[in-house]
């Protein structure tokens, strides 16, 4: 590595989970970061550039958190292979930055000892130094450097300028020739080796670190409530309930703002573009289609706001602890709670984050049921159908009935997921015992605005990208299907009755008729395969074209007038289960590496959807709502 250009130095951040590695990465690179995949695997590669005080541009790579280089999961294997320079198409990093939480260094020091054996140039960064000082933890930096045999610097990732010392140390290193990587003495540690390392690490810490004068009693005190058998569960339920109420009611003003904006755009088109196909395309195909999807961005942002804040705060691990027994009973790992909770925003990141579950059996079960969690793409569909078919009443003056139904739909998703997982445990995994649940419960930390903002931004952009590409393409397609062939001169029926969409709708209608679905629904479900939220826009297009120029009325009103309540409820039930998302299926295929799992997911979800919608329709009809 002596020939490496100094100013293209590649720095890899390595650390245990919860060490604050990602916040340090964010502090270094800010918005100059991008996420891609490592070649051949589906582990996210986060890298970004940053500039030192000397003006040198460096590349930082945020490697997946790990306790050792044994590589038990695909993510941990990437960390190992990157450190050892084994990843094809990736250069070995020039410098390892081992990131430690200065208030809790025990496991990271052991990791540093293991990393040292790889022979790579390495530097230890003690992050969260402000907190360590505040608690009165004394750290003998000189002693630590000598005993570890590597440079040690401090950082406060959450503070502006908190990385100054680290940047200065990097500049210092860049001024002299790059140190050569030594021979690698690393081999996968045996338990004896891990023990030896940990005992050595503990000895180093005893020699160099004095315990806190003011220990963190906040975590202890908060845990007394958060992990309490009764209050803890109440808190968890309250947090989840608050989240759903916020998603449903808190986003309303923003959504109305966006809605008005798109209506305004539609009006401009109506006034400036002459009546005809082009006007219809712009207004009904483009603006109404994209608008009806983007309008749900506020809700997605709110869901991710909750998830990211809870994660940063340290509550997610507590939730996993509280839920582990129930999850375990259903054949799931407590760790799967986090991927499954992410699936509430979108099954795709949920399925991808199932990588944190390291046993294949548990990981596959998690992936299998993740699409049953109520993802944000269902929100548009649920919102529309609920506002059309559930009265906007208050119960006891405080609980909104529509919000309550929404809560019920989330609950239905969760319980069916647990049931499917249980079935998988009893049918597919009869001969495989469950894997152990062991999870660090990190100290509580105030969520960092910056990292939450970066997280929300990334995810919002992902959603908009989908809305801007897949969904837009589908909208144009359905507009085409619904507009061509055009009605003959002097036709008496609405134009759509003569279109291709009608032919398709009529073709699949007999299959869906027992569920109370009319041909308009059948039409909407076909493009709805691209993504669930497309169905909303599709229904809008189908009905607004049918309604002609007076189509500006709310889609919801239209549905309430055209459908029986039983049909509306059946469609809601359908959407709890239906595999109406091609992207999710594609991701399942990619993550499991097999079309079989994708097919299994598709078939079982379709079967559940059909049964649920059928039952709902029949029961509702029996109550006279048909």
């Amino acid at each position: 590595m002596t020939t490496t250009q100094l100013d293209t130095l590649r720095i890899a951040l390595v650390g245990t989970p919860n060490c604050g590695k990602t916040s340090l990465f964010n502090a270094l690179t800010g918005s100059r970061q991008r996420a891609t995949n490592y070649p051949g695997v589906t582990v996210e590669k986060k890298s970004g550039r940053f500039t030192t005080a000397d003006g040198k541009v460096l590349t930082a790579i945020d490697l997946p958190g790990t306790y050792s280089l044994r590589g038990r999961s695909p993510d941990e294997a990437i960390t190992r292979d990157m450190v050892l320079g084994r990843v094809e198409g990736e250069d070995r990093p020039d410098l390892l930055l081992c990131v430690a939480d200065a208030t809790n260094m025990r496991l990271t020091i052991r990791l540093a000892l293991e990393l040292k054996r790889t022979g790579q140039p390495i530097m230890l960064v003690l992050n969260m130094m402000d907190l360590a000082r505040h608690r009165g933890i004394g750290i003998d930096m000189q002693g630590l450097q000598e005993m570890l045999g590597m440079p040690v610097v401090t950082a406060v990732a959450i503070r502006t300028g908190g990385t100054a010392e680290l940047l200065a140390a990097l500049d210092e290193r860049l001024r002299s020739p790059a140190p050569e990587a030594g021979p690698s003495l690393w081999e996968a540690p045996t338990s004896a080796q891990v023990r030896e390392d940990q005992i050595k690490a503990d000895a180093i810490l005893r020699a160099c670190v004095t315990p806190p004068k003011k220990p963190d009693t906040l975590t202890t005190r908060f845990d007394a409530i958060a992990l309490h058998p009764v209050f803890g569960m109440m808190l968890l339920l309250a947090v989840l309930f608050l989240m759903f109420q916020a998603v449903f009611t808190g986003a309303q003003p923003l959504m109305q703002g966006l809605q008005s904006a798109f209506e305004f755009l539609g009006q401009i088109v109506r006034e400036t573009v002459p009546e005809g196909l082009l006007q219809s395309f712009l207004q009904n195909g483009v603006i109404a289609g994209v608008g009806s999807v983007i309008v749900f961005l506020p809700q997605i942002v709110i869901v991710f706001l909750f998830i990211l804040v809870l994660e940063d705060f340290g509550y997610m691990a507590r939730a996993a602890f509280l839920m582990d027994k129930i999850m375990g009973g259903a054949g799931l790992h407590g760790r799967a709670f986090i991927p499954l909770l992410s699936s509430f925003a979108c099954a795709i990141p949920g399925i991808m984050s199932a990588r944190v579950v390291d046993q294949r059996r548990d990981r596959l079960t998690t992936i299998l049921i993740a699409p049953l969690m109520t993802c944000s793409a269902r929100i548009p569909v649920y919102t529309l159908l609920i506002s059309a078919f559930v009265p906007d009443h208050s119960i006891w003056g405080v609980i909104n009935l529509q919000g309550l139904v929404m809560f019920g739909l989330y609950a239905a998703g969760i319980f069916s997921a647990l049931a499917v997982s249980l079935a998988a445990k009893l049918i597919m995994w009869r001969h495989q015992p469950p894997s152990p649940f062991m999870l660090e419960l990190p100290d509580y930390k105030l969520p960092r605005l910056k990292s939450v903002a970066i997280g929300i931004y990334t995810r919002a952009m992902n959603f908009l990208e989908r809305a801007g590409t897949t969904i837009f393409a589908m909208m144009v397609l359905i507009w085409f299907l619904a507009s061509f062939p055009q009605p003959p001169e002097g036709a008496s029926d609405p134009a759509i009755a003569y279109s291709l969409a009608a032919s398709i709708g009529h073709f699949i209608e007999p299959v869906l008729a027992p569920l109370g679905f009319n041909w308009q629904i059948s039409v909407a479900l076909v493009p709805g395969m691209a993504a669930r939220e497309v169905a909303v826009a599709a229904l809008g297009t189908v009905y607004s074209i049918e309604g002609g120029k007076e189509a500006s009325a709310e889609i919801a009103q239209m549905l309430a007038q055209n459908w029986s309540i039983a049909t509306g409820l059946a469609l809601i039930a359908w959407y709890i289960f239906a595999p109406q998302c091609a992207s999710t299926l594609a991701v399942i295929r990619r993550e499991t590496g097999s079309a079989w799992w994708m097919l299994l997911t598709f078939v079982y979800m379709l079967a559940l959807a059909y049964v649920a919608a059928f039952a709902t329709y029949r029961i509702a009809c029996a109550f006279g709502l048909g």
């Binding site: 338990s191 891990v194 992990l227 660090e440």
Partner: protein, 103 residues
């Protein structure tokens, strides 16, 4: 140990015999005397379990305190190990032998 005092508010004295961490309840405070992963009936191999426990800091001599028990069937448990908290199921915690810290 100063560090240990950070987590435990209620630590009753018990007789100085060896226990399995998986059998203990809230408030127990002690020191890890040995790991015996072959006794845990875990789904992973004894050697793998031992490595994982060690990686999370369950090393002979480490101070432990049982802080919390989950609501359903008192399982898993949250254990203070040195100055960090680890959630672990009782089944795996059976591999950890502890003795009272007063002994």
């Amino acid at each position: 140990m100063e560090l240990l005092a950070t987590g435990c508010y209620f630590c009753p004295m018990t007789s100085s015999i060896t226990h399995r961490l998986g059998d203990l309840h809230c408030g127990y405070r002690g020191r890890i005397s040995a790991l015996s992963p072959q006794d845990a009936h875990s789904s992973i191999s004894a050697d793998e379990l031992e490595s994982r426990l060690l990686e999370l800091g369950f090393v002979e001599g480490a101070e432990i305190c049982v802080l919390h028990e989950a609501p359903w069937g008192r399982d898993p448990i949250a254990v203070r190990v040195d100055n960090m908290t680890i959630a672990i199921r009782r089944r795996e915690a059976m591999a950890i032998l502890v003795e009272d810290s007063s002994s």
